[in-house]
């Protein structure tokens, strides 16, 4: 029973990993671009949620959408003002730009909100569900289910809609897409919006059960990198499986080996995979 409990906990966390990594993988797959500020997008999503709850008294649905919307806008702004100009420059300039952006966002949040830890006031989500002896805290359960639903939604958006196929067309071949009458700039701005928006909503979902401060983005960013690399570049389903697997491995190794080993196990697995299947679980060779 305890084991089942551990597994459920790991999967619920993994679902969130999946959601906030899918944005990173989208950018990576579409534009071959590493966004080092992705963790900061998650962090900002958390603060948006806080502001909505504290100022407007919003509930989980409200602050989720607010975070998604606010970060969508930020993502588009970042694309239009910065990424568009560096994406075809040297790779180093790309790394520098988003790393600088990460520092800028992190410490702007630091300036505005101070270094203190905050947590979301107890909102309507609380309590614990008992399913056959397995205890599931409602906030985590809702967050986990919502995260999976959103990740799947993003996947469907990419594979089943016109907008999605246009996005993928741009990713595939920019010039060909242009000839087909697609405007790559718009599509890429949209991709950044979607990526940041999904990070924002993931942040809002995390905020329900996790206290944070402005430096939280660094941890999230690193986790997202591992998830994305494990899942395969540009693959949203890959990110989803990898997120769930990593959540599960962390929980199990924390339980069996001790919590300090959980990251070692994840990274060691990552290193092993690098040797055996460098393109990631779902990545193309």
């Amino acid at each position: 029973m305890l084991l089942a409990q551990v597994i459920v906990g790991g999967l619920l966390l993994g679902a969130i990993y999946a959601l906030f990594s899918s944005g990173l993988t989208l950018i990576w797959g579409m534009m071959n671009f590493i966004n080092f500020a992705h963790g900061e997008f998650v962090m900002l999503g958390m603060y948006v949620a806080l502001l909505v709850v504290v100022w407007l008294g919003g509930g989980p649905a409200t602050f989720g959408f607010a975070a998604a919307f606010a970060l969508f806008v930020l993502g588009v702004i970042v694309y239009a003002s910065l990424i568009r100009h560096v994406m075809r420059g040297p790779m180093l300039a790309q790394i520098l730009s988003t790393f600088g952006l990460a520092l800028l966002l992190r410490y702007t949040a630091f300036w505005i909100f101070s270094a203190n830890f905050v947590s979301l006031p107890q909102v309507s989500l609380s309590g614990t569900l008992n399913v056959g002896g397995i205890l599931m805290p409602v906030p985590q359960l809702v967050a986990g289910v919502a995260a999976i639903a959103l990740t799947l939604g993003l996947h469907l958006l990419l594979t089943r809609t016109t907008v999605g196929s246009q996005l993928l067309a741009v990713a595939e071949d920019r010039n060909a897409a242009m000839l087909m009458g697609i405007r790559p700039d718009r599509m890429q701005a949209l991709a950044w919006g979607l990526a940041a928006g999904s990070a924002g909503i993931a942040g809002a979902l995390m905020a329900v059960s996790y206290p944070w401060s402005p430096s939280v983005g660094e941890t999230f960013g690193l986790t997202a990198f591992v998830v994305v690399t494990l899942g395969g570049f540009g693959s949203v389903p890959g990110a989803m499986y990898a997120g769930l697997i990593i959540g599960l491995i962390q929980a199990l190794s924390a339980y069996w080996l001790g919590p300090i080993y959980k990251d070692i196990v994840v990274y060691a697995l990552f290193a092993a995979l690098l040797w055996l299947r460098p393109q990631g679980l779902m990545g193309k060779a």
Binding site: W28, N32, I34, L82, H85, V86, G89, P90, M91, L92, A93, Q94, I95, L96, S97, F99, G100, L101, A102, L103, L104, L105, R106, Y107, T108, F110, W111, A115, E218, L222, F225, V226, V228, T229, F233, I260, Y261, D263, I264, Y267, A268, F270, A271, L274, W275, P278, Q279
Partner: protein
């Protein structure tokens, strides 16, 4: 402009007499360390175009071994330097073999992950001090402990190492190896078609880079007299190397030096002016400047100067 290289050498040589006092010497040492690390990184990250964001793994190994030798066997820290170089070399081979089969950003991501793995692992390993870290001799037992009261000896030791690294880079740049690195960066497929052994050359570059980075780490820990997982293997250590090199101009001999010359004083100045206030303004400025540079001068200051200098020259001739 013929005077500029000797002038520069003289300036670095006499800097401690121009700006005197331990604090300025310490900044000088910090500048040299940043320049050494970034120059070491530049060999693989700049010339070969294999952007490692995990070079802290070599820096950390180099930083740990000297203090470990002291901690375990009471040996002078300097004795651990070659061991660090060897371990870094082995690590470079272990990382390079699988990852150099891949292209593009995979290498960057893989290096981040491996550096993180090592950081977390060292943080739980009691033999190397786990999370608390290791200390060097608080007071030097003899000169060979290299524990000086003044920053001045460190300045000249670091300067000598920088000279070695730069001279090596200079030689590499002119040699077949250097041409091959640049060819690989420009296009692996074309390089291969001309008989360039791509993987072996990349691996060789990583190994050379790793050894120098390891030495930089050793210098750091011997001078600081302390090392812990974060200051040895933290991601900021890696990122600093990338930023310094990119800022000055990657794949150029003096780019990392220029980058360090801009960045270290910038960090010191923003920290001096705004650090005490504690509002985070240091990083807002720092981050902002990096973003602006990447946006408007993606080739680094070196390239910027190449655009600007001729125009300035023309203007001064016209005047």
């Amino acid at each position: 402009m013929k005077w500029s290289l000797p002038a520069l050498a003289a300036l670095l040589l006499f800097y401690p007499f121009i700006l005197t006092g331990p604090f300025y010497w310490d900044i000088g040492v910090a500048f040299l360390l940043a320049a050494i690390s970034a120059s070491a990184w530049n060999i693989v990250g700049g010339y070969a175009g294999q952007v490692s964001v995990g070079h802290s793994m070599f820096f950390g190994v180099g930083a740990y071994t000297p203090l470990l030798f002291y901690h375990l066997w009471g040996l002078p820290p300097v004795a651990g330097v070659p061991a660090g170089m060897l371990v870094s070399l082995a690590l470079a081979v272990a990382i390079g073999m699988p990852t150099f089969r891949l292209q593009g950003h995979y290498f960057s991501m893989a290096t981040i992950a491996v550096a993180e793995l090592i950081r977390i692992f060292v943080g739980t390993w009691d033999l190397v001090g786990a999370a608390i870290g290791l200390q060097g001799p608080a007071v030097g037992r003899a000169w060979w402990d290299l524990t000086f009261r003044s920053e001045l000896p460190y300045y000249y030791i670091f300067l000598a190492v920088l000279a070695v690294v730069l001279y090596t880079t200079f030689e590499v740049e002119r040699s077949r190896f250097g041409y091959y690195l640049r060819a690989i960066k420009a296009g692996e497929r074309a390089a291969r078609s001309l008989g360039v052994p791509v993987r072996a050359t990349k691996l060789k570059a990583l190994m050379l880079s790793a050894v120098f980075t390891s030495v930089a780490g050793s210098l750091y820990s011997i001078k600081t007299g302390f090392i812990d997982p974060e200051s040895g293997f933290g991601i900021l250590v890696s990122v600093q190397m990338v930023i310094v090199a990119a800022l000055g101009g990657a794949a150029t001999l003096f780019g990392p030096l220029i980058g360090a010359l801009l960045l270290v004083p910038l960090q010191t100045a923003t920290n001096t002016w705004f650090g005490g206030g504690g509002s985070g303004l240091t990083y807002i400025l720092y981050g902002g400047i990096i973003v602006l540079l990447a946006r408007f001068e993606p080739g680094g200051m070196h390239e910027w100067w190449q655009h600007v200098a001729p125009r300035l020259m023309r203007r001064s001739h016209a005047a």
